[in-house]
């Protein structure tokens, strides 16, 4: 169901009835719910960190500050898709992820997502601890030379890492 590799972390998902809209295809907000499942899977099975403990006990969160997403090929009920995640930048308080959805050998969705580490107690932005940075770095790879993403500058650290 999941694996860490040179191409990053992968988790397989079944497209279910509740993901789909009256057009019979995935309603796009549901992809973002699936991206969050992928993030949880990455913590639990890729990083070897307990995501629930991260949230409930450590009271830390990784809300999305920015997302840039291309929907190329629709998915429909019953499809099995491969969701992939890799890290393309580690900032002071943020990480930038490259997320993609694949099915039947084709790229269906690509996204670049910036997450910021915060305290769930007061919402304050936190610096990423060195030990966590080291874990994230195991999934680091250069930004893909993808026409849809490479032309856009990474978010300015001074803005993201405030």
């Amino acid at each position: 169901m999941s694996a860490a590799s040179k191409s990053g972390f992968q988790s397989e998902k079944l497209i279910r009835f509740h993901h789909c809209d009256p057009a019979g295809i995935v309603f796009y907000p549901q992809y973002f719910v699936l991206f969050h499942e992928l993030l949880e899977d990455w913590f639990n099975r890729g990083l070897g960190l307990d995501y629930a403990a991260f949230v409930s006990r450590e009271r830390r969160g990784l809300p999305t500050a920015h997302i840039d997403c291309d929907f190329r090929v629709p998915s429909k009920i019953g499809d099995t898709v491969q969701m992939r995640l890799s890290v393309i930048r580690i900032g002071t308080s943020s990480i930038t992820l490259d997320v993609s959805v694949h099915g039947d050998g084709a790229v269906r969705v690509t996204a670049k997502q910036v997450l910021v580490l915060i305290s769930l107690e007061d919402g304050a932005v936190l610096p990423i601890p060195p030990a966590l940075k080291k874990e994230f770095a195991r999934f680091l790879r250069p930004a893909p030379a993808d026409a849809g993403l490479s032309g856009k500058a990474a978010p300015a650290p001074t803005k993201r890492d405030k």
Copy 2:
């Protein structure tokens, strides 16, 4: 609750319990559900077109091909937010929307969203009929001179309008 003006279409929304996550703030995929509510409100109250008939009777849809979104300030349960929509580009088969969420006088979320007109019968991309283009054009305005959006080229029509 809604109005058409020079700044585009606006619809007011209450942030509800079900939009919020264990951190007590809006779970970001729920913003995209709210964006879809805004689109429906724009059809029904801004364009004066029946969105349900558009989908159910005319069997047409406007799936999202691209979305680029900045989350600046979180929203929490009980907040009343103003959601605004304007059209920044009308292509052969697509429209590009500028969507934003405002609360307490601050910009909380900004997004640029590309929607493509399709047939719900077979998923085929359709040219936007002239009468519909004319309606959309009533909400057309130049792309905002926003550092976060202006630096990115609009999607190539040849790609989007295939």
Copy 3:
């Protein structure tokens, strides 16, 4: 949009695209999300209590302990439905609500729902304060003599009000 009357509290809702499934009708879990919207509307506009403050500041919640629901007539995108709520029992720590959904003059959904007052700090069941009981009592009415509901005994207070 809402009103208090002898028939209880009413709030009108538009059935939206995101409520509907690939069959083009409301996906039944979405009705329960709408029931929660109705509860919030009842607090805000019926009881005159700020639901968000109840949750966020007073840190109290009303989780569902029991729900019994009949789905009679489906709803589809674009339908405007009337959602009605009245109180049929006020216990030590719980209230039992009669909830229904109406459209085009027909009863579409009926439900009996038991909510329990808890502290969000530790999940402990709380006795309903007399002032809150008095507010709830304004919407109290006998259980409907409905074949689908009347034959079932109300939950035993000793069980629900533990």
Copy 4:
């Protein structure tokens, strides 16, 4: 992840961030989404029928006509729960399921759910074909002698099977 046994079909689920509300526990409508996942898993892995094909190719659906649900113990993020399903009645056009959620050895949620076979083309109620009845019957067992459920009569077939 799943198994057929004398106690019915079982599927294990991870409680995720998006299932939980600001109180940090599963928002009850999400249990019904999970019940639907369980139904899909039962088709795919228990009955050996392709649920997606059932919906998309055969254009048949199993909407819920009635649900009666007790929420006993809350679930929180990171919990692994066992969801169990068995058939307690097979009618002309409907099946009644006994569904339950278990965690840490305790029963957390119990439900009795009536599903009706319909055509997705026109919404018409269909008789359950003998071959499908035979499949369902493999998971048939007597209704549990549970105080919370046994006191309630099964829905009258003449009403459900209209």
